[in-house]
Symmetry: C2
Subunit: 527 residues, 2 copies
């Protein structure tokens, strides 16, 4: 793998101006891998942003079809990466091979899905109000609106999804689809992986004749701050911790020119177990929940961190089965040493609280992560205690028993914003508890029934977002095709002749769009 | 007009808990009008936000049709306000009667337009990806997305449009259309006007059986900060100064739960006069520009504050005619004493610069505003000097001459974000200067050809927004139907039975929406 140079990707070239280096580590052993990465200098951050800024005009004026070809070429290049690539990702993240192969499929599928969005063209939001020259007292001018990219976007890779939420992940794919060049900050947990994926993107850019600066990548601790502050950056995509996301959002808001930050941060993803469901299939639910909590070592943004049930014999029975299952789960290797020590601190924090009992789990040692189950008094929820509202990133979860329906409502009302909320319910439960739905809708981006939130489809209808602190802006999603909306802004042309209008707005409708014309949706050409 | 009580509007009731009062003034004379307003106390701010919070659930679950009826009832109540109302607005703002009658028509038309949007239903953004139970390796769940209101919205009235950008203006109309209750902060410049309009809204709410807290209004200097900080407020709409808007945006970003702020702030709206157009109709352009600069005493957000031409005999000739016209304009009464003193300071600031020459205008005295024309050296633009980038709110404008096409590009490149940019051009000009269009598109929300930016249509295609500092978020517009998007967020339902889905997402498509179903747009019911 001599092609891992460990240099920044700037303007289609490689760059290593600084002396500071970072080492890639084997996530299972903690030992150094033979890959060294140059930390980006301030100058390199500026150069990367300047390259993206230069690329913006030529890139955004390409037809949607051309940008679709670019995204598809990235998908092809990623699919062509060999078994050595899969082995490398496994080494850097300790994630199993099957998961990495599936995550690559998800990532390339996502790129191809955004290519479909580009061909469909509805993201352009074309609206036309034609001139009314006879209108009194004043004629109405011809007005035509469409949406363009906001400008270069800074994207921060996530620790937990080295492919799907990283270099060529959803934020990058949606920004590129919107016509926005990207400056990607590689995550320190999988820099060699990032290097190989960035090389694939650059090959795809060259193959499809994209402007050089369309994709840039930098390495290094702390360079993210300089990136978010750079004048040329017009929006930020981030997946990670509440602390990290909030720091970037604060930085972006304090710029001379503030910019939007779409940070996907912290969610405990409540799962509410309703009585009839527990009665009919309590043991099965205990098994399914155990699997969901332990999936990917609990390192999913949508891992169920809070399980709520109404006091009853069947809930007690479920809890016994669940505790037994959780206690039997093997320890797992976490993504990196930092994630493990965060997990250990999180466990100590919650276990030390007087209103929390430890129900299952081996003592947490220095190496891999031991699955853990806690039980917390409902008063902690009712009081809005931050203890239960904080995500423990790893294979741990907290159970809360509520006295009755009224207390269930009160407990859910006190929750902060979430990515998801799940009801495990039979038809009779839904009839009895349907008033929970509007309450949960106010709190979350996605409501599930009889599923587990750890599965996140990539399609048009998915919402992977939600009110703060789940994300920094509830109006966005970082998964699914609506993610492109975050990086678009409307522009209006007044009275321009047809040949100077963007194709989306021309009379002949050359892109075949469904357009809002004089208040009616139409695919017709205008006469 | 005994119905002007000068009390807060909270939860369908009136409230005056505090002792501090504010007086409404006659804008022409500065003398007190017989209306006294109680400044809202902290408690009243909290009560107003609590009322809006309580109203959110019942209001957002009303059908779009019911919300449309509410907006139309507001329009009817406003249309029914008598001549005494028009006289009152004129007294408080010194704006002429014709302008106020037209602005009322614009405001009620805007409310009715949002009612149409509600009936059309596309704002709901319905997307459905149906279950694929046979998919391998895992079945695909049923996923359905639509958009709901973000929650209670704080709206700040503008000084310059007492109706269209105030109590029942575009921000209020779009927030209510989105299903968001409103807490409106009345502008100190037209509190009696606000009182009458708020009464009309409350009558409409009662007539259409809306929840009490759907609309609330508070008075007072400084209460806006408490309003933006209130936990229940989920978004902010503002029209006013850069300083004021930025302060609110900073406050909102620093909240424990940050919220989006849509502030429409500062724009100098460059008008570029191209050579053939000046050759063919220079005198006419001089007249039209004079009218646009002086419209509404220059107190339009889209008033042309920067006029750029290429050095040529025809530009010199235009400038002579323009200076002559500007010098002949009568003084005008400004909205209030504060606006006049800001105008005077702005004039002194620009006139004092060594690279600026005064071309026309009477000495600015203590009373009404004298129209003024300045000429600035292009170097100020090229250097990005803030002097020329700052809006002078009033009937003044600045002319800049550029040496040639290259310098024109450079000068435009150095501009900050704007609401509008205008080309005054003949076909030959467009052929020669068409490369200006992509450059301007990057800077503005609206590009005009052979029109004047002071005219802002209200329809589907209008964009009244643009990159900072024109607004705090280029992804929004505060005029036109797209304004509703600012106050909506997506929510996804996974695997819910039809009867528990919101109507927008039910199989039978009871709202008759065009929905994105499995990647295809369709109005059909699902089988």
């Amino acid at each position: 793998m001599s092609d891992i140079l460990g240099q920044q990707f700037i303007d289609g070239q490689r760059s290593a101006l600084g002396d500071e280096t970072l080492q890639s580590l084997d996530a299972s052993t903690g030992r150094p891998l033979p890959y060294v990465f140059h930390q980006a200098t301030e100058q390199e951050v500026e150069l990367a942003v300047a390259a993206a800024t230069r690329a913006f005009a030529p890139f955004r004026h390409l037809s949607p079809q051309r940008r679709a070809e670019f995204l598809e070429a990235i998908a092809e290049e990623m699919d062509d990466l060999g078994d050595d690539f899969i082995a490398l990702v496994c080494q850097e993240t300790a994630l199993p091979e099957g998961r990495i192969r599936a995550e690559r499929g998800r990532t390339t599928g996502q790129l191809r899905l955004f290519a479909q969005v580009l061909r469909r063209g509805d993201f352009l939001g074309a609206r036309i109000d034609r001139a009314l020259p006879q209108r009194t007292p004043l004629p109405r001018p011809d007005l035509r609106q469409y949406r363009i990219g906001v400008g270069p976007v800074a994207v921060f890779g996530a620790s937990n999804f080295p492919l799907a939420f990283s270099t060529a992940g959803g934020d990058t794919a949606s920004a590129l689809a919107a016509g926005c060049p990207v400056v990607f900050k590689a995550h320190s947990g999988h820099m060699a992986t990032a290097d190989r994926v960035a090389s694939a993107i650059v090959r795809a850019a060259q193959r499809t004749a994209m402007p050089n600066g369309v994709f840039n990548m930098i390495y290094g601790g702390g360079v993210g701050q300089a990136l978010v502050k750079a004048e040329g950056i017009k929006a930020v995509g981030f997946t990670g911790s509440l602390k990290g996301g909030r720091a970037l959002a604060d930085l972006a808001a304090a710029r001379p020119q503030p910019i939007p930050v779409f940070a996907e941060m912290s969610s405990i993803n409540p799962v509410i177990l309703l009585p009839e469901a527990l009665q009919n299939r309590g043991r099965q639910i205990a098994e399914e929940l155990t699997a969901s909590v332990n999936l990917g070592c609990g390192q999913f943004c949508t891992s169920p961190g809070l399980i709520i049930g109404v006091r009853s014999p069947q809930f007690t029975e479920f809890l016994d089965a669940f505790a037994k299952n959780m206690g039997q789960q093997p320890a797992q290797t976490m993504l990196n040493a930092g994630a493990l020590s965060s997990y250990r601190r999180g466990l100590e924090h919650i276990a030390g609280h007087g209103l929390v009992a430890h129900l299952a789990g081996q003592a947490q040692g220095e190496s891999s992560a031991q699955p853990q189950l806690f039980r917390a008094d409902v008063q902690l929820l009712l009081d809005g205690d931050p203890l239960l509202q904080e995500e423990i990133f790893g294979p741990a979860t907290v159970v809360v028993e509520v006295a009755d329906d009224v207390q269930l409502h009160a407990a859910l009302h006190s929750l902060h914003g979430q990515l998801t909320a799940t009801l495990i319910a039979e038809p009779a439960d839904l009839r009895r508890f349907h008033a929970l739905l509007p309450l949960l809708e106010d709190k979350v981006g996605r409501l599930l029934l009889n599923g587990y939130p750890t599965s996140v489809e990539v399609n048009d209808a998915m919402v992977h977002g939600g009110p703060y602190p789940a994300t920094s802006d509830a109006r966005g999603t970082s998964v699914g095709t609506l993610a492109i909306d975050r990086f678009l802004r409307p522009v209006c042309y007044q009275n321009y002749p047809d040949q100077y209008l963007p194709p989306a707005l021309q009379d002949s409708n050359p892109l075949g769009l469904d357009r809002l014309v004089d208040g009616q949706w139409s695919r017709a050409a205008l006469s």
